[in-house]
């Protein structure tokens, strides 16, 4: 089907924090690359700041852009389930990325990170590396279902280890907010043995607050999502950030590429692809280092 | 002698409407020149042109014989031409001293508050004005605001001082102070241009008089060439037979009785009775509590005491209560409380009686009809019906406000300062309106600081002093001396009756 052209719609949340920024960057890079490689493919990229706007985007793609396939990272699962189903019902190919829909069986292809594993892997590291009675603090993301999943998995993983979470607040996946919250945690708690910052943007804010308080030697930090600065530090053997847990923004590239493949080759691409969250240590860090990514 | 400021063949149009039609005008140093004319004749417009606030559509302005074209009032002010505007020109949130020095503050990098406070104090002292330089304008009564305006202008060291109705809201005493200042400035060689609707002031003050009618000069005269009657005739363009209507004679029963009425904190122990078909004048100094009394009577202020309508005690907690009992009130503050200046005539006329113009939907035709009726009943002259009320002349605003007040067809109407800033012709019209109302069986209370008005209009006069009734005068007892005695508290009747 070389002579026929196809339009693929890509709908993702806008770049309001580090991880999404990385995801936006990867999406654009992939689209550029694929459009150059396959002249018969056309992409429509839309970014949304809230679920309602994302629904608008899907409607517009269907009504005005005649898409043949949709790659969507739902802002939230519940509100997007119906609209994505409408796209499916219109006979389009649907690839869902990262956040599953609340109803099974709608998507043709599912590419995702594993939020539960993301929390669990971090939790296991804490469990293995802290003695019973250790005190930790947790910085959460923006209040969302996926944040809940991560935190629940983390708590489940340390459950029974005797590690105590002495404080937990929302840092909103934002450096400034994390900095502020950590400053206050440091004022409040004399003993903190480790910090789960759950996101590398927040980890950077936390590190600054710790540095300011001069308590670098008292605690280590685990962030998440594999930001290049953090990976670099792990490669360099920074004691303060011993490990990281991946949650690669590049999953969007995988999803777009696999969807494109469906149209440019005969490769069957149905199914579910879960990109697990792995622990990045000094040994394997080099494999996760992308110096060109903005994230 | 060359005039220091003059106009030649000046025309001014707002949009398609020409307001001034080719005015020639000279103002000499050391003279007081009075500019008189009916409301809307174009006096303020002419003064604004002289003061650089408006540019003429054609014609020229000369300063010391040389043509000038001021881009702003500030530019004219820099050349010594200062205007006291008719509308208040003070920033309400700033203090008296701040306003007096606004735009020409003292001090270098930092303001010299002390010098400005002292300077302001000195100017106020010169005017015998007891206001504190630190008072905020929004907290001052109108008369004090006007004195501050005058102080502000005095502080600008004018060689030409243009005063647009400076006395309209002043007390007798304050007017005397103003006249003293004007005399002093005249001897110092300042050129003064003065407008007032009080013709006795004009004949007392002016060296020369220019009469404006419908945007053209109709008469120029020296002081003694023109009597007050002559001025009125020149302004109005016809003989004014009787300014005041003849007195009424038959009154009905008492329709409103007030006993032991108090409007805290000022008004105490007021009792009065009002008969059908009667005009009751209320006189007193500014601050005597007349407005408070009136606002209390119509439910605009919390009060206690007894109000009886046709013998039955009634409660008046709000304006709607007052309306239900057939009582209406016309405020003294036309611009801030009476009319929505940026809305049209229609919207203003019907605002307080909208209920009558449709149950669910307002009927535009009914409103328009009411406006047509009001325009003819009260002789309101507006260039267009949809003009913003703020652009009407004062007299026409007042007539509109009167029409608005009368729209609910009240049986009792309280009119606070019916003719403030209103020309003699319109004044007379308003007096005859009031008379007509009384003859139709309404009862009218007129609150006024204008002595001839009180004397000429009232069937009875109630005088207030410091929040209490100083006395009531009836029939032949009414005379200027009797009223003034009561006002000043020098009469035997001055003992407050409780």
């Amino acid at each position: 089907a070389q002579d026929q052209t196809y339009t693929i719609g890509v709908s993702i949340p806008s770049a309001t924090h580090g991880f999404m920024g990385g995801l936006n960057w990867h999406a654009q890079q992939t689209i550029e690359r694929l459009e150059a490689t396959y002249p018969q493919l056309d992409f429509v990229l839309a970014t949304a700041g809230e679920p309602g706007k994302q629904v608008d985007d899907l409607e517009d793609m269907l009504a005005t852009r005649n898409i043949d396939a949709l790659v969507v990272l739902p802002f939230e699962s519940e509100p997007l389930t119906g609209p994505v189903k409408a796209v499916k019902d219109a006979g389009k190919w649907v690839t869902v990325v990262d956040r599953g829909l609340s109803q099974p069986g709608i998507e043709d292809l599912y590419v995702a990170g594993d939020n539960t594993a993301f929390g669990r892997v971090a939790g296991e590291y804490f469990r293995q590396n802290l003695p019973s009675g250790a005190k930790i603090v947790v910085l959460r993301g923006i209040p969302t279902t996926l944040d809940n999943e991560r935190v629940d998995a983390f708590q489940a993983a340390i459950d029974g280890s005797g590690i105590e979470i002495v404080d937990m607040q929302h840092g909103n996946w934002n450096r400034d907010d994390a900095f502020t919250v950590m400053q206050d945690f440091l004022s409040k708690h004399q003993q903190i043995d480790a910090v789960w910052a759950a996101d590398d943007d927040m980890a950077l804010g936390v590190m600054e607050a710790i540095a300011q308080a001069g308590r670098e030697d008292e605690m280590w930090i685990v962030g998440g999502a594999g930001m290049k600065e953090i990976i670099k530090r792990i490669m360099d053997g920074d004691k303060q950030i011993p490990v990281n847990v991946t949650y690669p923004p590049a999953q969007i590239s995988t999803a777009i590429e696999m969807t494109a493949l469906r149209f440019v080759s005969d490769t069957p691409v149905y199914g579910r692809f879960i990109i697990g969250s792995t622990l990045v240590t000094q040994e394997n860090a080099a494999a996760f280092y992308f110096p060109d990514s903005p994230f | 002698m060359t005039p220091c400021l003059s106009l030649s063949d000046v025309r001014k149009a707002f949009g398609p409407i020409e307001i001034l039609h080719g005015i020639d005008f000279d103002l000499y140093p050391g003279e007081v020149h009075a500019l008189i004319g009916e409301n809307g004749a174009g006096k303020s417009t002419l003064m604004k042109i002289l003061g650089g606030y408006l540019r003429p559509t054609s014609g020229s302005v000369q300063l010391d014989g040389a043509p000038v074209s001021f881009q702003s009032g500030a530019e004219a002010e820099a050349r010594g031409i200062v205007v006291i505007h008719q509308e208040f020109n003070l920033a309400p949130d700033l203090t008296v001293a701040d306003n007096i020095y606004l735009g020409r503050e003292l001090g270098g990098l930092f303001l010299d508050h002390k010098a400005m406070r002292e300077g302001a104090q000195a100017l106020l002292d010169q005017l015998d004005c007891p206001v504190s330089p630190d008072a905020r304008i929004r907290d001052l009564p109108v008369s004090d605001r006007q004195m501050v305006e005058i102080a502000k202008a005095l502080g600008r060291k004018a060689r030409v001082l243009i005063m647009d109705e400076p006395s309209a809201v002043l007390t007798q005493r304050e007017v005397q102070v103003l006249f003293r200042i004007i005399d002093k400035l005249r001897s110092a060689g300042v050129a003064l241009l003065y407008t007032s609707h009080r013709l006795e002031e004009v004949s007392h003050l002016a060296d020369r008089i220019t009469v404006l009618r419908d945007g053209a000069v109709v008469r120029r005269a020296m002081r003694n060439e023109l009597s007050e009657d002559g001025m009125a005739t020149a302004m109005v363009g016809r003989d004014l037979a009787d300014i005041f209507p003849p007195r009424r004679t038959d009154f009905g029963p008492v329709v409103l009785e007030v006993q032991d009425f108090a409007v805290p904190p000022l008004v105490q122990g007021v009792s009065l009775a009002l008969r059908r078909g009667e005009v009751l004048g209320i006189s007193g100094l500014f601050g005597a509590g007349r407005t408070e009394l009136a606002e209390g009577l119509v439910g605009l202020r919390p009060h206690h005491g007894i109000i009886r309508r046709n013998g039955a005690a009634v409660a008046v907690r709000s304006l709607s209560d007052a309306e239900r009992h057939g009582i209406a009130y016309l405020t003294e503050d036309r611009k801030e409380r009476g009319l929505l200046l940026d809305k049209s005539l229609r919207e203003n006329l019907t605002l307080s009686t909208l209920r009558r113009f449709g149950a669910l939907f307002l009927s535009r035709p009914a409103e328009d009809a009411a406006l047509t009726q009001a325009i003819s009943d009260f002789d309101i002259r507006a260039p267009r019906r949809d003009i913003a009320v703020g652009n009407l002349s004062g007299g026409n605003q007042q007539k509109l406000l009167l029409a608005k007040t009368m729209l609910p067809a009240p049986e009792i109407v309280i009119i606070d300062e019916p003719t403030r800033g209103i020309d003699i012709g319109t004044k007379s019209q308003i007096y005859h309106f009031i008379d007509r109302l009384a003859r139709q069986g309404l009862s009218v209370i007129v609150i006024s600081s204008d002595m001839p008005e009180i004397l000429g209009l009232s069937d009875r006069v109630l005088v207030m002093r410091q929040g209490r009734v100083a006395g009531v005068l009836d029939g032949t007892d009414i005379s200027e001396t009797a009223v003034v005695r009561l006002i000043m508290g020098t009469s035997e009747k001055a003992a407050p009756h409780v």
Binding site: E78 | G338, L340, L341, D386
Partner: protein, 323 residues
């Protein structure tokens, strides 16, 4: 009459330009489907903005409407889910949900309105406060996640957004009714006249026997109920509520009102203008999706430029009116 048509031309011109631009960029722009989409999604902000027009006209402001919508949606979903066992799936359930939405909206409006008119606190502060309160409450009720309507109930309720009468979607019909009712209320009823009078000079209004506080209170109540109504149409669309529902709706609604030519300081309200303002804002988003831009990162910049231009266009016209 001539005044209305004149004053409306400003924002209308911007709207027409946008439509022409859209038609030029994409053939499907003028398709029934796309037009339905744009109009239906304008409906939420649209109804809220109509209510906001009255609030602003009478000299007030309401920053809380976006969070209020989220809160109402949350309460509505909770109530409906709780009632499923009792009422079953069907009209009674939906009607109960709608009643909850309207009542919660009304109460929210009463709360804002009383704090503003009785306690005399600046509308900006009161509604900034309630904005935080409503959003926090919905996040708390949802435990940081999403509140979802029961699946069956959702299926039954869905047509309220997606179906319609004579091929016109319900949200469009309801929005049109509200817009017309709003315009009539503003121009042809006492209430509208009082709002303008109060915004123009509240003292004059008070001296004209207008019950200033009561009218202002009602503007907030009406706005609250309109937010409730918008939520009634919004919930079937997304079937859920979370902390991010209705984010920044307040800004969009206020912007629509101002773009439409209502003065921010009050005294002069144009409901038609507001409708046009809402459509302009929706169209900008739609057009950005129609065209392939350099970068989606720049969407916000283009939006900003168009908003300012729309008002420049309008100002050009209205200054000729001599305001």
């Amino acid at each position: 009459m001539s005044k209305i048509s004149l004053s409306a031309t400003g924002p209308l011109a911007a709207l027409v330009l946008l439509v022409v631009l859209g038609a030029f960029l994409n053939d499907n722009f003028l398709s029934a489907g796309n037009i339905t989409n744009v109009l239906a999604r304008s409906a939420f902000i649209g109804m809220i903005a109509v209510g906001m027009t009255f609030v602003i006209t009478s000299g007030g402001l309401d920053l809380s409407v976006g969070s209020m919508a989220a809160f109402i949606a949350g309460m509505m979903i909770l109530a409906m889910n709780a009632l499923v066992p009792t009422l079953g799936i069907g009209m009674p359930l939906v009607l109960a949900g709608m009643a909850v939405a309207l009542v919660v909206g009304l109460l929210a409006g009463v709360g804002n309105g009383l704090l503003i008119t009785r306690a005399g606190i600046e509308p900006f502060i009161v509604t900034l406060g309630t904005m935080g309160i409503f959003r926090s409450l919905v996040t708390w009720i949802a435990d940081g996640g999403t509140l979802s309507l029961d699946f069956e109930a959702r299926q039954f309720y869905r047509p309220v957004y997606y179906d319609g009468l004579f091929g016109i979607a319900w949200p469009i019909i309801v929005f049109a009714i509200i817009a017309v009712a709003g315009e009539i209320t503003m121009r042809h009823t006492r209430f509208g006249r009082y709002c303008e009078a109060i915004g123009s000079n509240d003292k004059v209004a008070r001296y004209s026997a207008v019950k200033v506080e009561r009218v202002q209170l009602w503007t907030y109540i009406a706005l609250g109920m309109l937010v409730g109504l918008a939520t009634i149409l919004y919930v079937p669309r997304l079937g859920s509520a979370s902390g991010s529902t209705g984010l920044l709706w307040e800004l969009e609604a206020i912007a629509a009102v101002i773009i439409g030519g209502t003065a921010l300081k009050g005294g002069y309200g144009r409901v038609w203008g507001t409708v046009v303002g809402v459509l302009i804002l929706s169209l900008i988003d739609n057009i950005l999706n129609l065209a392939d831009l350099v970068s989606p990162y720049l969407n916000g910049a283009i939006q900003g430029v168009i908003i300012v231009l729309a008002v420049v266009l309008q100002r050009g016209k209205s200054s000729a009116e001599g305001r």
